[in-house]
Symmetry: C2
Subunit: 229 residues, 2 copies
DNA sequence: GAGTGGTCTAGACCACGTT
DNA sequence: ACGTGGTCTAGACCACTCT
């Protein structure tokens, strides 16, 4: 008889998916629902709050709770470390550092990360292989202003990807997905032919408003990034 | 003095981002934290539960709470209706139905959606324009077994995208992002040249284990899908 | 003004998993 | 066995916002 917040959530979801509560329909208030399910209001509150977080319903004080007109669809992607991504597919992971230079940030990078002028950055390019085959090309820029220790770090064994997550505690990021045409150089790296369409991820990362790093990850042809929601 | 769950959350986050609590470090248990912050354990619980949901910490009964070794990075994408996406950029939206046929599901589609044989489907192709310029090509397949009313619906004015969200109450979906090369036909639709790299989204949707629809959305060259996290 | 959700409390019991 | 998080309760006060 006593309903848990999961029970309540599931029952509300069922009423919505079955069409019993149409989009835009009013959901009873928390007190009534608590009465209906024979539980405390706090229990109903948690169920409804989670449904609101997931975009299924919309809540406003005084106005009450309504089923969302167009359910806010959101997908959640976990952003894995490349090594993990490859090893999760039961493939052997291999990493190689391709190039390493220290230079002043080019202006396109300064614009992207809102850097000051004359900001020294570490520029790395590397490759990630799955079972010996090219998997991803990584073009990485690290601010030496914020992370001076990057200059002395050894990136021949450990990729910048993993070095960063173990060095920088936490950060905000902006991520962008797009498609790019394989240049002859990129085709060479990825073992494909020039002109192929490549899936590209670009990510800018900040720690407390200070730009840390920008990375462009280019995947081998045919790569799909997938999730359920 | 009395801390809200937001205060607690922010303070814990600060301790992590500042490096005071390193990755892997043990976080005090809920009772002690409640004592520290002068609030109830439920308040601490909510703060920590949200941090766990966001992948910042990891919680296990008896073992306690720890700062995640490699913070689980997750990005949340809202999946907008095309019209909304375009209008949010202050562009004029235009829709056009390109083709419409009723047929049996081809076997690649049956495989993808786990459909039975001899399943009639509605196949639509359409275009979405922003300020008169091609924005997205939509290749849509709708199961007529589950949604027979789709056969009589008028898709010349309203796109299948919007028709579906207002017709099907809620559903599970699988989404995949990739890059494809523009065929001569697609280049024609999108007003670009053959061989360009196009960002592609494929989505399969189910309602209570019944396949509803599959759609492949191909965007004009240069399209970027972006988010913060 | 009044109804709704948002949050906090103090206490309780339970489930799990480490030890 | 026992400490930890997971959840529920009954009540309270507050903040927002619709009418």
């Amino acid at each position: 008889m006593k309903a848990t917040f999961r029970d309540v959530k599931a029952d509300i979801m069922a009423k919505i998916t079955s069409g019993e509560w149409a989009p835009g329909a009013h959901v009873p208030n928390e007190m009534d629902l608590a009465d209906t399910y024979g539980c405390a209001r706090a229990t109903v509150n948690r169920a409804m709050r989670e449904l609101a977080d997931e975009g299924v319903v919309e809540r406003r004080r005084k106005a009450g709770t309504r089923v969302r007109m167009a359910p806010l669809r959101q997908a959640r992607f976990s952003i894995p470390i490349v090594r993990t991504e490859i090893e999760d597919q039961n493939c052997e992971y291999r990493y190689a550092l391709v190039s390493r230079t220290v230079q002043d940030a080019p202006h396109w990078l300064r614009a992207r990360l809102q850097l000051a002028q004359d900001c020294p950055v570490l520029h790395l390019t590397c490759m990630h292989y799955a079972d010996g085959l090219p998997y991803q090309h990584e073009d990485r820029w690290i601010s030496l202003t914020v992370l001076p220790q990057a200059e002395t770090a050894d990136f021949t064994e450990l990729g910048p990807n993993e070095w960063l997550v173990s060095t920088v505690p936490f950060s905000d990021a902006e991520i962008a997905f797009s498609a790019t045409v394989a240049s002859t150089e990129m085709a060479d790296y990825l073992g494909c032919t020039q002109g192929e369409a490549l899936f590209t991820v670009e990510r800018s990362t900040w720690l407390q408003d200070q730009a840390i790093t920008f990375v462009r990850q280019t995947f081998r042809p045919g790569h799909r990034m997938t999730t359920r929601y």
